[in-house]
């Protein structure tokens, strides 16, 4: 799964301001771009589906045995007579290519199959648990941006010490592992100080610590990328001219500099939303929250192939959609890209 969640090649901050290297595109080319994007999105989904299927099917061990043992807590080998009805029911006795084609055919029709473990449609399993995870990941992305921007506005180029403090904090935050940070936040703010509930669930208070756990490392990461760009932009001639026109420092920073320097971080956000899903697996576990992360973890433990594949498909879809949105946001922030 990590293969598709890796940041795109274009992610690192460009050496020159992005504004200077975006040639105007003609309409025909725009349509072509959309078609290419759609095709590559489909390609991503197909690859995700295939890799998941193969990874789950080719792992050692027998799926029918697992299902039988799962319902009894036993860890034994099973006789062919015991396995036969399960194999037949789930089509495990079909040749692999047939299973694969059947699986793809279902996907094409929007049918993610039936969970081996819960015996209900995967779409239902996922839709039941999608909302808490989307809330968590989108909340984390939002908070990460607020943290990163706030820190940059307050510290970038505001004296050596402050600047160093800001970038030092970013480096530290970016390197914090989710599991560790989550447990620390849990112990300090929920168990000891009791500012927040220990057990997740619904409600804004219960969302705070899980969101922070995901947001802090991401904020450090976004901040690092943005800070370089921010400081470079502060030296640009148009900043000097804005200041010359008498625009105040904060206004220059927010209206002019920020607008240019968020573009690399924005590119990363498409990737980050996908990556937040994998972070959610741990965070939901630590904070005992329901959600797709827990579903994925349980499904992997039970080798519930349709559910694992379904969750991966949803994450891939979120990733694809997020990247499309990022492209769109680009044109809004910097109208010179993709104009006309």
């Amino acid at each position: 799964m990590s293969a598709i969640l890796r940041p795109p090649e274009a992610a690192p901050a460009p050496a020159t301001p992005p504004a200077s290297k975006a040639p105007p595109r003609p309409t025909g080319r725009r349509l072509g771009t959309i078609a290419t994007t759609a095709l590559s999105a489909l390609g991503v989904l197909w690859a995700a589906a295939t890799v998941t299927f193969l990874a789950q099917v080719l792992m050692p061990g027998d799926r029918a045995t697992l299902l039988l043992n799962l319902s009894t807590g036993q860890t034994v080998e099973r006789t062919p007579e015991e396995l036969a009805p399960i194999n037949e029911r789930f089509g495990f006795d079909e040749p692999l290519p047939a299973q694969y084609l059947e699986y793809l055919r279902g996907l094409a029709g929007g049918d993610l199959g039936t969970s081996y473990q819960q015996l209900k449609p995967v779409t239902e399993v996922i839709s039941d648990q999608l909302a808490p995870t989307l809330l968590l990941t989108c909340g984390a992305l939002l908070v990460a941006w607020l943290l990163a921007l706030g820190l940059i506005l307050l510290t970038a180029r505001r004296g050596r010490a402050r600047s160093a403090l800001g970038s030092g904090f970013e480096a530290l935050a970016a390197s914090l592992p989710h599991y560790w940070l989550g447990v620390i936040l849990l112990v300090v703010f929920a168990v000891e100080l009791r500012w927040f509930p220990v057990v997740g669930g619904s409600g804004p208070a219960a969302l705070a610590l899980p969101v922070l756990t995901l947001a802090v490392p991401l904020a450090g990461f976004l901040g690092q990328v943005t800070r370089d760009e921010f400081e470079r932009t502060l030296d640009q001639p148009f900043v000097v001219s804005a200041r010359a026109r008498g625009v105040g420092d904060l206004a220059v920073r927010v209206r002019h500099v920020l607008r240019h320097s968020v573009l690399p971080a924005l590119t990363l956000s498409g990737w980050a939303l996908g990556a937040l899903f994998s972070g959610a697996v741990l965070v939901e576990r630590v904070f005992s929250r329901p959600g797709l992360g827990q579903v994925l973890l349980n499904a992997v433990n039970a080798r519930d192939v349709p559910v694992v594949a379904g969750v991966v498909m949803v994450v891939a879809l979120v990733y694809v959609v997020a990247n499309l949105l990022v492209d769109l946001a680009y044109t809004l922030i910097d109208p010179r890209i993709g104009e006309r």
């Binding site: 792992m59 447990v183 168990v191 039970a302």
Partner: protein, 545 residues
């Protein structure tokens, strides 16, 4: 309190506040805050660790849940005696083959279906004829003949040969009776919202989060060892799945839960000060290492015995679990099981010299540069596969690492393989080629568990639960005779001989007892742990002001 009950309840933990069974008065006295005024109503929030695939089934994680909404035919009290529950009375024919149960009248499942002999019979058919419950099958398949309803309140169970531990087996939550109407809905509905006649009714299961139970207002048929008859005192029971130990314990200290399962051992002594804590030593097979007797170095009895002497198992258990979980030297049956033989527990004390002598005798006389023993150019290598985070807690894994370091001193090269739940349950590590040693446990109220874990694995009659692949007709005969013994004393004597034989053969090594621990908030009284395999019982619990 009988001797056995003393053993079962520990006494192992000085100062632990006991709240169980007939010990109510003692528990109350021990709570410094005093009794308080009993309240009715309220919601108990309980934090448990593992979430099973279905609310009902043959796994201990499912039994914890089903105990809340299913009733069994009989119950086992703290003295190990069988007392009435759904069955008022029972008798067995002279040839021990026909058991007749008289059912309590007026019992209804929560969907309105009457609980009569036909409903009970339907459950036996579902478990055994339709193989709806593998664990019931493991106990009874070789003994079960038929079941039938003689009249609405008379249920008859026919066996092919006598089965002495029948009633103990039936007292487990795996044998909880479900509504036949609900069973007919098919596996999906039954997995998600099974229907019984118990004190609570499954209202909703939010996967990954928890299960909400509501009180069954009509409940009048608690087991004879319940603290009270009639509906539960509280209105709701919210069963949260809190896998992370920090969060689970933290939820109790912050008051978000009223009871938690599996108190993390580092918090144990503090939990004793703050809460009412209770520890239950599960009967059945303890957490023990099955040694592969048909393939690899452990085919040689001397090597198995050397391995047993080579590790300070007791010391490593004590240090890994902070002294909270007791060591168990008997690898086949744990100390709280009726018929436990203590002699089989101290056969292999920590004795590196003896281990060295045995290995020399077995021909493993040379050492390589890494300090491991070698015979005919082959290193003395042991593959130990264990279920990480599933059968084994982090403390359990530490214990295995301690052991690994100790046995290295006499020249064993142990490779620890932490396996995932999916790998273990899918049979990746089943079979004689997969491991030299494999640790596991099996909760059961009877030494009859030996029939499941040590019966021979033969082509015509496979037994894949024999994880040491140890086939011995003499042992099987002892176990089979014990299972069909005429009296309990005779059965215990035979089970004892079987345990000593297994110990002499070093087919399995005891590590520690499987243990249930609960910590309960001070304002909640009468949460108890039932005897057959340690499920928490909330039917009698009430809050005090």
């Amino acid at each position: 309190m009988s001797d056995r009950s003393t053993a079962r309840r520990g006494g192992l933990l000085a100062g632990a506040l006991l709240l169980v069974g007939a010990l109510t008065a003692c528990g109350v006295d021990a709570v410094p805050t005093g009794e308080g005024t009993p309240l009715t109503g309220g919601t108990i929030t309980y934090g448990h660790d593992q979430e099973p695939p279905c609310l009902y089934g043959g796994w201990i994680q499912q039994a914890y849940l089903s105990r809340q909404f299913l009733d069994s035919l009989v119950s086992q009290d703290d003295d190990g005696e069988i007392v009435p529950w759904l069955a008022d009375a029972w008798e067995v024919s002279d040839d021990q083959l026909t058991w007749t149960f008289t059912l309590r009248e007026g019992v209804r499942f929560s969907d309105g279906t009457p609980l009569d002999a036909r409903a009970v019979s339907r459950n036996f058919e579902f478990w055994l004829d339709e193989q709806g419950n593998g664990t019931v099958g493991a106990y009874l398949a070789d003994y079960y003949e038929t079941s039938r309803a003689v009249d609405p309140t008379t249920f008859e169970l026919s066996l092919s040969r006598p089965y002495t531990p029948l009633l103990s087996a039936l007292s487990q939550a795996y044998f909880g009776i479900q509504s036949p109407t609900a069973l007919a809905r098919g596996p999906e509905a039954n997995c998600e919202q099974p229907v019984g006649s118990g004190p609570f009714v499954v209202e909703e299961w939010r996967r990954g989060d928890g299960v909400t139970f509501t009180r069954n207002p009509d409940y009048q048929w608690g087991p004879a060892n319940a603290r009270h008859q009639g509906p539960a005192h509280v209105e709701r029971l919210v069963w949260k799945f809190l896998h992370d130990p920090v969060a689970r314990y933290g939820s109790l200290t912050s008051g978000e839960t009223d009871v938690i399962y599996d108190v993390p051992t580092p918090e144990w002594s503090r939990a004793q000060e703050l809460f009412q804590v209770e520890q239950y030593i599960t009967p059945g097979r303890p957490v023990s290492l099955a040694l592969n007797t048909v393939k690899g170095p452990f085919t040689d009895l001397r090597v198995r015995q050397a391995f047993a002497h080579a590790g300070d198992r007791e010391g490593s258990v004590r240090s890994a679990f902070n002294g909270v979980i007791p060591f168990e030297g008997n690898g086949s049956v744990s100390q709280s099981t009726p018929g436990y033989d203590p002699d089989a527990a101290d056969d292999y004390p920590y004795d590196p010299e003896r281990a060295n002598a045995l290995l020399d005798e077995a021909g493993w006389t040379e050492f390589n540069d890494d300090g491991y023993r070698v015979r005919d150019g082959e290193e003395l290598r042991i593959t130990l596969v264990y279920g990480a985070g599933y059968v084994f807690t982090p403390e359990g894994a530490t214990m295995l690492q301690n052991l690994q370091a100790q046995v290295k001193e006499v020249g064993f090269h142990v490779t620890l393989i932490p396996a995932t739940q999916a790998e273990i349950l899918s049979g990746t590590y089943a079979g004689p080629d997969a491991y030299d040693a494999y640790p596991s446990y099996w909760t059961s109220p009877t030494a009859g568990i030996l029939y499941i874990t040590f019966r021979q694995d033969l082509p015509e009659k496979p037994n894949k639960s024999n994880s040491q692949f140890y086939n011995n007709p003499e042992l099987e005969e002892l176990i089979v005779r014990a299972n069909s013994a005429a009296t309990r004393a005779e059965a215990d004597e035979l089970y004892g001989r079987a345990q000593r034989l297994i110990s002499d053969e070093a087919a399995t090594l005891g590590l520690y007892t499987q243990t249930t621990s609960l910590a309960v908030a001070r304002d909640l009284k009468d949460v108890w742990i039932e005897d057959s395999q340690g499920e928490p019982v909330f039917h009698d619990a009430y809050f005090v002001r």
